[in-house]
Symmetry: C3
């Protein structure tokens, strides 16, 4: 596939940066320091990367003014305040975007659906009755969109995505392949030793600028809706159960699971593999480290963890046996007993000294 | 989408309940106490919801007789013994069901496949040779069904479901979107530092009234079959490895993983994120709390857990370091030593007292 | 479906084994010891299965010479050095393979794509521009293959697989249903309290003889590629984040997650549910037990673990409370204090003895 050429000053304008060196340098790729060649631009976001930067074959580097002064052998720079942000912005310039527009002949669109003229609907997409697809939205091959779903403008829906009920999706939302939105929540009433299914009647509401990775399951609510507020970003293989609410700009890394009716605040960060039990509340600005198991409300901003550090397995087995023993070892009592015994010993010592 | 109207006494008959108030009240929705409006019916399953019930705008409430007496301001009720079960039953009345029947023109059905006349086969469904699809079964768009698969009556198969071998499925089974049934088990023989694939020849047998969520992987057996017995319910993103057997009415919440050849009993409940090692046995009526790691047989009914509680990260780090230290701290010996020292001290005290 | 018949000596040749008994015995299935009938061959890989072997109705058994001598009641054998490997090899003989070749009429193939004549492209497969599909490669129904993807020869791509960027795949690679290869990595630059998406420009490179299960997410790199080296085997529901590198012949069981830029060595084994943090390195020949949480480099071959053993929940709660208390219990100091107090007591005892 052909790649486009950019002048260094064009790219600098894009990130509000200042060119040092040859403004008319021709750049055709954004690359890591190690992989960059004489047509590539790369970036240095931290002084720990200075050694790699000195050895990089990149034609130009995005740096701070301070970092530039420490790279005397390099010649071409875009100087910015935040190189990592500049990299993020430039990544969009070099991205291969889906340019096709219109509806592929093989797509099945219900008559009552309203599709923006400049949307793209891929091969074999199935769109149900009364759906609305906004301007400049891309829906890739094989996605299935149930009756009544409304998707905003400038969205990107990848392959094999299933909207399984009448979902409402905001603008600039990105949903990756094989994710299921609005699947049936796991609701059953136990009665006479059997599970009686509760038909799920709620939906899913997704705000603006939400991002959902691949192979996620975002269930529809039982009665009310499951809600992802504006700016929420979610990685792959994440489970969001029925009636969960995720607050604005919260980030959820891969393999997390949030059980039913739990409410997570704004600007939280859940690292990979975190599990959160149902029917609890997590405050704003909470960070949960990887694989934490959260079983109670967290009402105070801060960072929380669970689990144990990893150990060589032989050592771990000894520690794990002691963990079991802890059930019957009264630790705090031991500490108190120790203090008490220490006092007794000292008292004995004093008595003996006096009687010398 | 239009909604249907029901009279309050119609709904009451549906749940074997008694109307208190206006029998001819017109109801068009089942809603939560908070979201209910003057056309909605809601339910109160526990006295902790009484405050919400008092403030609800619901036209009518499903309650027990005891709860009704504590809601003097509300006027219309359906009185039942088990309001939560009544809610479960009514949810089906208000559900938007797939009403279409027949085979979409874009479906690819092998000649030898037998499809019941009143089944529904959605767009782009692919059905292989010798498959059988039972009466009133719905197969939504894009599902793929391999040769020899037999699906019973009144089943619901959502979008993008893959049956990857000749699977046998009972009646009233529900399988949600993007789930894979009968994928290849993870079987390899190590030999001369390489992994030699074992072709998987078993299948998957799914009983009646089984429910499987979205994005699950239920692998086919190596030689014998993987088995889900009648009434098993499984949430999203669950892994069931080859030759696992899950007993009747066992419930498995999201993100659990059961490794190969493990046998889980009847009426068990696995909370979210539980991992069960391969080749073990779990008795009937076992409950495993969230994210438990089960590494050995459980032969006794009861509730089991593993992991640690979550803590503020600073505190957790101190505890986690101590967990490591436990490997070299002989806890039970310490307890004995303490007792022994206590005895020694007391003996010293006695001696001193005697010599006073 | 009809099954093929094999003579016992044919099967023996296939595994370099020696027939004991009737060479012309007709075998139509490979089965477990318990399920085998008079048309089946089964295998005994360990003396712990001898009792089952004695009771098996199998027509013939694959055994070592030593095991054969302990099965006097059985009459027909294939004797080999490694019965489990022989079983692995024979499993391929009895597998129902996809025999169809060519391109289904409903597949959408871009004009610039190059498809080997003896490949099979299933119904509704979508193949983009400049893709290459090698000889004897099977692509099952509904898979979607983005522009520029190259897949080698003798590969098997199951249903609903999404290649979401220009992925490079070696020979003899197997990828199971509903897996996503080359989905967008989870890369965001935080700036002014919002997440700014980093378009992912790298790809995924998959070596020869790689196996990936169902419902996996293998993300494309941010700038450089995500890499699975030759012989890597991956089970279901696994997350491989952007820029991860997995070394040759490493095995990753179901539900593992590897965070971004982590490099895992050769011949490692990750048991189910392991989580590995980003930007670390794991040496060759490392084994991680189930559900381990790996947060730091592992530079030494060996076996590592984390977590706690499971306990009956009441006992676990007591142990878990003590784990919390450990944060404030100076274990190593206690051990020292105990030793010190013991010395003090003994000194007191000596003094008293002297003064007797």
């Amino acid at each position: 596939m052909k790649s486009t050429q950019f002048r260094l000053d064009e790219l600098a304008r894009h990130v509000n940066g200042q060119v040092i060196g040859h403004s008319d340098l021709s750049i055709s790729a954004l690359a890591s320091l190690a992989a960059a060649d004489a047509q590539s631009i790369s970036f240095v976001s931290h002084e720990k990367h200075l050694a790699d930067a000195q050895q990089s074959h990149a034609a130009a580097l995005i740096v701070t003014e301070q970092l530039r002064l420490r790279l005397p052998q390099q010649q071409n720079f875009i100087v910015v305040e935040n190189p990592y942000l500049a990299f993020a912005l430039l990544s969009h310039v070099f991205e291969h975007k889906v340019l096709a527009r219109g509806i592929e002949a093989t797509a099945q669109i219900a008559e009552s659906a309203i599709i923006a003229e400049d949307a793209y609907i891929g091969h074999y997409v199935v769109i149900g009755e009364h759906c609305v697809i906004g301007s400049n939205t891309i829906i890739q091959a094989h996605s299935t969109i149930s009756d009544g779903t409304e998707i905003g403008r400038d969205c990107f829906i990848a392959h094999h995505v299933a909207f399984d009920c009448a979902v409402k999706v905001g603008d600039r939302v990105r949903i990756h392949s094989n994710t299921v939105i609005g699947g049936e929540g796991f609701g059953f009433a136990p009665y006479q030793a059997k599970w009686h299914r509760i038909a799920q009647l709620g939906s899913v509401r997704i705000g603006h600028d939400v991002r959902i990775g691949s192979n996620c399951s975002i269930d529809r609510g039982a009665l009310d809706d499951t809600i992802l507020e504006n700016g929420v970003i979610i990685d792959n293989l994440v489970q969001i159960a029925h009636n969960v609410v995720i607050g604005e700009n919260t980030a959820i890394a891969a393999k997390c699971g949030i059980a039913g009716s739990t409410k997570i605040g704004k600007n939280c960060i859940l690292a990979g593999g975190v599990g959160v039990v149902g029917h609890i509340e997590i405050a704003d600005n909470v960070q949960l480290t990887g694989m934490s198991m959260i079983t109670k409300n967290i009402l105070q901003a801060g960072t929380y963890s669970s689990g144990t550090s990893f150990l060589e397995t032989g050592q771990w087995k000894r520690a794990a046996i002691r963990f079991k023993q802890l059930a019957d070892v009264p630790l705090t009592k031991i500490v108190k007993q120790l203090d008490h015994m220490q006092a007794q010993i000292e008292s004995l010592e004093t008595i003996l000294k006096l009687r010398k």
